[in-house]
């Protein structure tokens, strides 16, 4: 454990070795899950977390895979243990649970927990949380963007025994599988989760054999204390004060009104409060967050800028409080729907915290807004190639925001989730779609000293008779914001063209929808095409301060047109071909002269002077 050195009286080397080993157990559990799952959302998307918990259910370590699940990782296992009672566990038991009204994030994410015993004594727990691709409910893919209560979102499972002393509880399995559209996938994925638990159980068992139950739990306590002390020392380095910011969800899929999230961060000594009590009331549609999602988002925003190598465990929350009153969009009340809270609301809050609010005190660590949507696109139907029902939950890469030290990443899943993109080859092998186009969306990144990353454009043609599609997305009405003079990024678009037609129109126009970004169960037919355009990130700092050589490089790569190089960045490029002139702004520019393109230093200096001073 490096970095700030609190807790001088502990064996830091020994503790570091132990912590790394526990982290490694989580990694090994993750690999087991990835390699044995049936669904690409596990094997390709990596939409899961693996956990080692102490005998009280407190999180000791997690694989650094999906930060979006941090809140549930901290809380959902505790819930299971308290609700069931530690005395009611037995060796070989496995509990499953996906209830957002019991510490879960949203229904598709299932937590599995198993106790680890030695000589009949409870020693620790291992667990995982994973997003099952299909759990029933009103829309294939179980992401119902027009749900108005949780019951429309899929099968809700309170802490339930899935294995009793190692034996499957068949009645529970039968109920679950009967309610999922793709039970074969669920069977495989749930067993991948189980396999991951077995790996964790064995490895933690080895640790217990070496250190004993009490010895291991004492060390766990020290790891928690270390994380707490580390967080406290980092918070203490911030100036005391109250820092505020706000952003909104564009609509909830049910009505065309925004929902505002109002946040204030109160720093007092070595403690910090996130207060969302001035946020709007909970939405009718599924953009609400359960408490743990707001907790996750707040912690993730903080961890991007503070204590970046702290062991992520239950110790980090001790100096932090999150206030999210029930009945607001930041803490949904039963039976409010909340499937989109995890994927859309969480990144909005996280970037509000790290970009808009903490930039007031840590400008060098903040970032402009990413595309800030998971751009969930769901589909299902009967595959004409084998007659079997399929369903998939697809999320799209987009551009991240520029930051003080670098440009935003391109074509990457939203920062809070850390998931991977599904390769085209997997896509087309698994489901009846054909890709017509999949590319970076040039000339759309928010300009800046460090520009935003580029979003992508994906065109899919329906290769089955009928596919039912749904979407739950954001950033169609409001662009990702820039920071410190950086420009806005570009917006999401979801469009459709009827078979044989060339003209694209938005789903909203084509089907008369309330929301352009949230819809459920649209039936498309063979030959219809869908064009998904993901947003690009906002820029950081004044574009006129961008190194002209980097602007030239962007032009050569086709990321920025020559026209934008001049009109936005004030960089004049001489010579070379018209590379980069085909940008979406159609502004062209450049003289197309022969020779390698190069920055015309004198003309650039003069143009930038004129752009700054406004005098020709």
């Amino acid at each position: 454990m490096t970095g700030t050195p609190p807790l001088a009286d502990v064996d830091r080397v020994g503790l570091t070795l132990l912590y790394k080993r526990v982290r490694n157990i989580c990694d090994e559990m993750a690999f087991a899950m990835m390699r044995t799952a049936y669904s690409p959302i596990f094997s390709e998307g990596l939409d899961f977390s693996t956990l080692v918990l102490d005998r009280r259910g407190r999180l000791i370590a997690t694989a650094g895979i999906n930060p979006a699940m941090l809140g549930a990782s901290l809380y959902a296992a505790t819930w299971i243990i308290r609700e069931v009672g530690p005395e009611n566990f037995a060796e070989g038991d496995v509990f499953v649970h996906n209830d957002p009204y019991r510490g879960g994030s949203h229904l598709p994410e299932h937590m599995m927990v198993t106790p680890v015993y030695r000589d009949g004594e409870l020693a620790a727990f291992v667990g995982n949380i994973a997003h099952l691709a299909e759990i029933g409910g009103m829309a294939p893919g179980s992401f119902a963007a027009t749900a108005t209560d949780i019951f429309q979102e899929g099968l809700r499972i309170p802490p339930t025994k899935l294995f009793d002393r190692g034996e499957p509880v068949r009645d529970v399995w039968r109920i679950m599988l009967a309610n999922h559209r793709t039970p074969n996938n669920s069977w495989g994925d749930l067993h991948a989760m189980l396999g991951s638990l077995r790996v964790g159980e064995r490895r933690v068992g080895d640790l217990i054999a070496e250190r004993g139950i009490d010895g291991l739990n004492e060390s766990f306590e020290q790891i928690l204390d270390y994380a707490e002390a580390y967080m406290r020392s980092e918070i203490l380095s911030l100036p005391d004060g109250i820092y505020t910011g706000e952003d909104c969800m564009e609509d909830d899929g049910i009505s065309d009104r925004p929902y505002w999230i109002r946040s204030r961060i109160i720093v007092e000594g070595d403690e910090l409060i996130f207060d969302y009590s001035r946020s709007d009331e909970q939405a009718v549609g599924p953009i609400n967050a359960p408490y743990v999602v707001t907790l996750s988002a707040s912690l993730n925003g903080l961890l991007y800028v503070l204590a970046r190598d702290v062991p992520v465990n239950a110790g980090i929350v001790r100096p932090i409080k999150v206030v999210a009153p029930a009945g607001t969009i930041t803490c949904v009340r039963l039976p409010g729907p909340c499937v989109g809270g995890q994927t859309e609301f969480q990144p909005r809050i996280m970037e509000l915290v790290l970009g808009q609010i903490l930039s007031q005190i840590l400008p060098e660590r903040a970032a402009a807004a990413s595309g800030n949507t998971s751009l969930n696109f769901l589909f299902g139907g009967v595959d004409p190639r084998n007659g079997e029902y399929y369903a998939h939950y697809h999320f799209e890469g987009m551009g991240w925001g520029g930051r003080a030290t670098s440009d935003g990443n391109s074509a990457q899943i939203v920062p809070h989730a850390n998931c991977r993109n599904t390769p085209v080859e997997i896509f087309e092998t698994k489901w009846p779609w054909v890709h017509e186009e999949y590319c970076l969306n040039d000339n759309t990144a928010g300009a800046g000293r460090h520009r935003g990353g580029l979003g992508v454009r994906r065109v899919l043609e329906v290769a089955g008779d009928v596919i039912t599609v749904s979407a739950l997305s954001e950033r169609m009405k409001r662009s990702p914001w820039g920071l410190f003079g950086g420009r806005e990024g570009s917006r999401t678009r979801l469009e459709v063209a009827a078979a044989g037609g060339e003209e694209y129109e938005t789903f909203q126009d084509a089907f008369g929808l309330v929301s352009p970004s949230k819809f459920t169960n649209i039936r498309l037919r063979r030959g219809d095409r869908v064009r998904i355009t993901s947003p690009s990130g906002g820029g950081y700092g004044d574009p006129l301060e961008r190194d002209p050589a980097r602007v030239l490089n962007d032009v050569e790569l086709g990321f920025v047109s020559r026209g934008s190089a001049e009109s936005v960045y004030g960089v004049v490029i001489a010579g070379g071909s018209a590379t980069g002139d085909s940008g979406q702004d159609g502004s062209g520019g450049g003289d197309g002269a022969a020779g390698d393109p190069a920055v015309d230093e004198a003309a650039t200096a003069e143009l930038r002077r004129v752009m700054r001073d406004g005098v020709a």
Binding site: I242, E268, D275, Y291, V322, V323, A326, C331
Partner: protein
């Protein structure tokens, strides 16, 4: 100021929220009486009671901040 069990039937599906932070209450809760108004509040634990007083103090020292 005391701990209470959330005494519920096993088939009761309602959920309970902390009056201070909003988090869900599990199995038991901590209660305290507001000094102003005398209302009884249910919360996660003693730390949420302290949070309640702290937020009130902040509100009084910097109204509307």
């Amino acid at each position: 100021m005391a701990w209470h069990e959330l005494d519920k039937s096993w088939h009761d599906t309602t959920v309970d929220y902390c009056d201070v932070c909003g988090n869900l209450l599990i199995a038991r809760y901590w209660s305290f009486v507001e000094p102003v108004g005398g209302e009884t509040r249910r919360c996660c634990d003693e730390s949420c009671e302290r949070l309640f007083h702290r937020l009130r103090r902040i509100e009084e020292s910097a109204p509307g901040s």
